[in-house]
């Protein structure tokens, strides 16, 4: 919550055309600038941020320190790439801009994006650093992009000259899959000097992490809580149902014949449609099967959610789903049929073999088969036990 005036120095030199970061180095930089502006203004509403460019025809101040985020975002538009970065002049102009800030109580901070080679001498940079320290200006350096002889060394020397009690930082960001702004989120530039991350930075980091699918179902609970909840509940119910099915008797009822055929057709259809895409659809397939066999009362809503998602893709699948929903609604005993059918190893493998996208020799397929089989074994044992009970039921 430090009251701060910040000047951000952007590198818009020719080196920024390179695409090794994000869409282009320049675009990655622009995203990072937006993030920083947001974080600063959120941590303290009286904070001001200004922007200047270091390359092009010369150092140019785009916007003087202001707390108006819209102005800052607007000035990032239509920036041209070209020329060479002039680091020394850029920092000095930033210092001047900060000196003339309106609220003299604000701390002065400069954030520099150094993406192209640094042509100044180390001595020059050290002197600039000393001058900054003398005027109690803190400096954050983002070292990315080009990494030629001595650049890192020069920047480290500059930081050492400015640094007063660890208030200034340098961050080295190599090219990689992660976006520049995402990497910056975890650095002290965002999190402040040990004050703890601002709420903005923390939530932005969480969202970024979710985007890289660190979540169970590939759905960030923050973004879509209902879908995430539906998926999770359906998974749990499927597991519970499988356990219950293992205990239930496979009813050797006459209905099995009739219901079985219908179920056969629906299951085959659904199987072929549902898992035809790829291996990662297999989970959805199993879930969908589980859905159709679930207690209708409790999971009807979830069924609808799950099924409507899948059905949207395929009209035949939709028909199959409808049939299965009707079936499960009227005949709970047919649930047992399904489990028995699944338990039949040969039946399952024949289905899977007929699916265009699934290879029975695929290890993950074998895993699934194995798990089905292990459930079918206790089932068969209990079949015999509960045979008398079935007759009572009927």
């Amino acid at each position: 919550m430090v009251l701060e005036a910040t000047m951000i120095c952007i590198d818009n030199s020719e080196w920024m055309r390179n695409g090794d970061y994000g869409p282009s180095r320049f675009q990655a930089q622009a995203d990072a600038v937006n993030l920083i502006c947001g974080a600063k203004t959120q941590s303290n509403p009286e904070n001001t941020v200004g922007v200047l460019t270091m390359a092009g025809k010369g150092v140019r101040v785009l916007v003087t320190p202001t707390s108006d985020l819209g102005k800052i975002l607007a000035c990032m538009h239509g920036l041209e790439i070209g020329g060479e970065m002039n680091l020394a002049a850029g920092i000095q102009v930033a210092q001047l801009a900060l000196k003339h800030r309106q609220n003299k109580k604000q701390q002065q901070r400069i954030i520099v994006f150094a993406g192209s080679p640094v042509k100044h001498e180390k001595k020059t940079l050290e002197m600039i650093g000393k001058k900054l320290k003398k005027n109690s200006v803190t400096l954050d350096i983002v070292n990315f992009g080009e990494d030629d002889e001595g650049k890192t060394e020069k920047l480290e020397a500059l930081l050492a000259a400015v640094n007063n009690n660890d208030t200034s930082h340098i961050v080295h960001i190599p090219a990689g899959p992660n976006a520049l702004s995402d990497v910056l989120l975890s650095t002290p530039i965002f999190t402040g000097d040990g004050e703890g991350g601002s709420g903005f930075a923390a939530s932005a980091a969480a969202a970024a992490a979710g985007g890289i699918s660190g979540f169970e179902f590939g759905v960030d609970p923050n973004l879509d809580p209902e879908l995430a909840l539906a998926l999770r509940v359906s998974m749990e119910e499927e597991r519970a149902r499988q356990e219950a099915a293992a205990k239930k008797a496979a009813e050797e009822s006459s209905k099995q014949e009739k219901g079985g055929e219908e179920q056969d057709a629906t299951m085959t259809e659904r199987a072929s449609e549902g898992a035809s895409e790829a291996d990662n659809k297999k989970n959805e397939f199993l879930q969908a099967l589980a859905m159709s066999m679930d207690e209708p009362a409790s999971s009807q809503d979830l069924q609808d959610t799950e099924m409507s998602d899948a059905a949207a893709e395929d009209p035949e699948l939709a028909l199959a789903l409808q049939l299965s929903v009707q079936d499960s609604a009227k005949d709970s005993s047919s649930q047992a049929d399904m489990s028995k059918l699944l338990a039949d190893q040969s039946f399952v493998s024949s289905i899977l073999a007929s699916l265009p996208g699934v290879d029975p020799n695929n290890p993950s397929v074998k895993e699934v088969l194995a798990s089905m089989q292990s459930q079918s074994e206790p089932q068969q044992k209990q079949d015999e036990d509960k045979a008398p009970k079935e007759e009572d039921k009927k």
Binding site: K133, N135, S136
Partner: protein, 177 residues
């Protein structure tokens, strides 16, 4: 600076202006974080010879002291060591938020070159007429005695008097008749 003025004795009615310093606005540029300004200004700290105000990046120091009320400045005491104590001291009255870049932009209200006597505690009398209506004082220490990289100041004391201001305690409510 009038050399004829009494060198050692503080004039009558001149008080130590320590009580009138507005501590929330006190600033010092280029001070070392381990040896900050309170070491030289605050009661108790400034008497301790081990606690000094030291400069950081180079030998110059810029000290800004606002006051809680308007004062007249009569003299100052700057104490330091023989080699590292300050030499040239420039005083600016009522200039807010100066920086090292604009110290040369306007002439100082007074300049003092400190001798060894001064560094031992002899007060420097200032041009009283220039300091009649002081709300804030900026002290610019330009260099030190030996020209070393770091300037060390052991004590800074300000002597003067207050301008007649309304004594709020004496205000009484007018009786309604």
């Amino acid at each position: 600076m009038s050399a004829a003025e009494s060198a050692t004795a503080i004039h009558r009615n001149q008080v130590d202006l320590l009580d009138f310093i507005d501590w929330s606005g006190v600033e010092c540029l280029n001070q070392s974080s381990s040896h900050p300004l309170p070491n030289a200004l605050k009661q108790g700290y400034r008497e301790d010879e081990g606690l000094n105000l030291e400069s950081d990046a180079d030998e110059q120091l810029l000290i800004y002291i606002p006051f809680t009320q308007v004062i007249k400045l009569h003299s100052i005491v700057v104490m330091g060591s023989e080699e590292d104590g300050p030499k040239t001291v420039k005083l600016f009255a009522n200039r807010e938020h100066m920086g090292f870049s604009n110290v040369s932009d306007f002439p100082p209200s007074d300049t003092a070159v400190l001798s060894q006597d001064n560094l031992k505690g002899k007060p420097v009398v200032v041009k009283y007429v220039k300091f009649q209506n002081v709300r804030s004082l900026t002290i610019f220490i330009e260099d030190n005695q030996s020209g070393s990289e770091i300037t060390k100041v052991q004590k800074i004391a300000l002597y003067g008097s207050t301008v007649e201001t309304a004594d709020m305690k004496g205000l009484k409510k007018i009786e309604d008749h």
